[in-house]
């Protein structure tokens, strides 16, 4: 039986070009270009390498507005077999809970799956919470922050990069794996594949098709709300200019003000 792999992807504003509306303090979406979240490209590549090795059906799924089509087509052009966009006006304004719920319900609707891949986090919200949330909704195990992933005979083996070192784990499928940014080099889209991808196109599923009630999802299904946004004000610093001749004075000042302490050295 062929391996079924799902890859969760997200279209995000290009972090190089984020424009904040000075009145609403929100992202000005019309002035910001959208791109595929980079870590999700690494997740797709990890999936395609398993497909190369043992054969697999790779389905990319996303939740987002219709313009996420460019991301979905791009994923097909890189080698995914199927693209499903969960898109519905009811999905807007979701926090991590209904986002995970919507994606998990979409995956359930697809049916059988062996491995679910996602990027470690999205560059725009940086929570890293949606992947593990999906795993909890689907009641499966997970491997987060993977720097390398391998599959053999029903088991996924992966290295996890943690603060204190690298942990190697082995988990039987089904399992959800979140992949570290820059952990591999995503393959290029070829012209041939691009043409096929456009021909194939994506499927768009709404709440009804997925089997979700409108009040479960989007802003209505979100436990958290944003009360306000404010610019981060940095502490004003003096930037006192010191030339090389003044370093003696600086050294004295550092000890006088106890910025340096003799007893610690």
């Amino acid at each position: 039986m062929v391996l079924e792999i799902i890859v969760m992807v997200k279209q995000v504003p290009d972090s190089q070009e984020v424009v904040i509306d000075p009145v609403t303090m929100n992202l000005n979406r019309s002035l910001t270009r959208n791109v595929t979240n980079s870590a999700d490209e690494n997740a797709l590549e990890a999936a395609l390498r398993i497909k190369d090795k043992v054969g697999a059906n790779v389905t990319v799924i996303s939740m987002g507005p219709p313009q996420a089509e460019t991301t979905m087509i791009e994923c097909l052009a890189r080698g995914a077999d199927r693209a499903i966009l969960a898109s519905d006006r009811f999905f807007g304004g979701a926090d991590t809970y209904p986002t995970g719920l919507t994606i998990a319900a979409t995956i359930s609707k697809i049916g059988k799956f062996d491995i679910i891949f996602a990027g470690e986090e999205s560059s725009d919200s940086s929570t890293g919470h949606v992947g593990p949330g999906v795993a909890e909704f689907l009641n499966i195990d997970q491997i987060t922050y993977a720097s390398s992933v391998d599959y053999e005979d029903g088991y996924v083996t992966a290295d996890r990069e943690l603060e204190g070192g690298t942990e190697t784990v082995r988990v039987p499928t089904p399992v959800l794996v979140t992949v570290l940014l820059n952990s591999n080099s995503p393959r290029m889209q070829t012209l041939r594949r691009k043409i096929d991808a456009v021909k194939k196109g994506m499927e768009v599923w709404d709440h009804d098709k997925i089997g979700l009630q409108p009040e479960w999802v989007g802003v209505r299904g979100s436990p958290t709300i944003v009360r306000k946004m404010r610019p981060i004000k940095e502490r004003e610093r003096a930037a006192k200019k010191i030339d090389v001749a003044g370093l003696g004075d600086l050294a004295r000042e550092l000890y006088e003000k106890k910025i340096l302490k003799l007893e610690e050295e």
Binding site: P132, G133, G164, T166, T168, I225, L250
Partner: protein, 350 residues
């Protein structure tokens, strides 16, 4: 199993009381972010006159439970089993979710470390709670007992304040290195409740085959950090950085590009993809001040920049700016420090 279902608001939010924090361990020892959680959790609990509960799981946790009490924890809720000696998602999330469902805390804080994030979202889904990720400011409103969870967004340029009004507990993960480690309390009188537990086999299918420890320099605990960037121009430049660091009792840090060049190991990296530091003194030598680096060091108490470019971004974040070639300035600074120490040494000896 969570199942595909919506998050139901708490029927009676007023029944949820007290503050939970998760104490992360490595080899059954508390990690620094665990102590940071005790500090922030205690502050929030005290403000509304509630208790701080510390959740501690592991193979042998009795000593660390006492340690948690010594830092001000009121009640340690512990689960002990050889199967819990290494963090694994499923047994930890199941046991902790059960604690939450039984004790009904108003607030639950988890360090935003990698394992902390691995855990937090599973518990939030399992308990139908709201969770705010990677907070850098946390407070509680006294009358409503609503958690004000603040997190940086849009490339750290904005701070979003996020509330969870109807769902309980109100969960947050807190960025490591932001909240201070509390002082030990004078006469600790917390209560320790540790249960030996039997973990269901179905939760233990993940095998942890190996853990390769990084000999990482713990920059987060350092009082003084001296960092070098691309302005060093070559790997040898780090010898100069080391010389200054050792003269002033500091540790060596670096920017990501300098580590990318292979001039120094990644273990020294400060910034978004490295460690977040807040030492008493941070020296940035040959560092232009890209946002990714600034994020990891801007909360340092005092910052000295050594840079030839008078318009470098780092200068905005600096208390002192040595506008000179670092190959000239650092040896001169080392000399000045030595001279100053000679003057001070007799006084210090008295």
């Amino acid at each position: 199993m969570a199942g595909i279902k919506m998050a139901t608001p708490a029927a009676k939010p007023e029944e949820y009381k007290n503050v939970f924090v998760f104490l992360e361990t490595r080899e059954d020892k508390l990690v620094r972010p665990a102590l940071e959680m005790i500090g922030v959790g205690k502050r929030i609990a005290d403000k509304v006159g509630e208790k701080l509960y510390c959740l501690l799981l592991g193979g042998n946790i009795k000593d660390e439970a006492k340690e948690a009490v010594s830092y001000g924890c009121d009640i340690v809720l512990g689960a002990e089993s050889p199967d819990l000696s290494v963090y694994r998602t499923l047994p930890y999330s199941k046991i902790i979710s059960d604690f939450v469902k039984e004790e009904k805390p108003n607030i639950f804080l988890i360090p935003a470390t990698r394992n902390g994030r691995d855990l937090a979202s599973r518990i939030a889904v399992s308990c139908e709670a709201g969770v705010t990720a990677d907070c850098t400011e946390l407070d509680i409103e006294q009358d409503t007992r609503i958690l004000s969870a603040n997190r940086p967004t849009y490339g750290e340029s904005m701070l979003a304040e996020i509330l969870c009004k109807k769902h309980r507990p109100q969960m947050a993960t807190a960025r490591a290195g932001i909240f201070p480690v509390p002082d030990r309390v004078k006469s600790p009188k917390g209560e320790i409740r540790i249960n030996s537990v039997k973990v269901d086999k179905s939760l233990l299918k993940k095998e942890v085959l190996e853990f390769k420890k990084k000999n990482a320099v713990d920059l987060t605990a350092a009082k003084v950090v001296v960092s070098g960037g691309m302005g060093l121009g070559k790997a040898d430049g780090f010898k100069l950085i080391e010389e200054l660091a050792s003269e002033i009792g500091g540790v060596v840090g670096s920017t990501r590009p300098a580590a990318d060049m292979g001039w120094i190991s990644r273990d020294h990296q400060v910034g978004q993809t490295g460690q977040t530091v807040r030492p008493r003194l941070y020296v940035a030598a040959g560092i232009s001040g890209k946002i990714q680096h600034i994020m990891g060091m801007k909360n340092s108490e005092t910052i000295i920049a050594i840079n030839t470019d008078p318009n470098a971004e780092i200068i905005k974040y600096s208390d002192y700016v040595i506008n000179a070639d670092l190959y000239e300035a650092i040896p001169a600074l080392v000399n000045s420090i030595r001279e100053e120490k000679k003057k001070l040494a007799p006084a210090a000896g008295k």
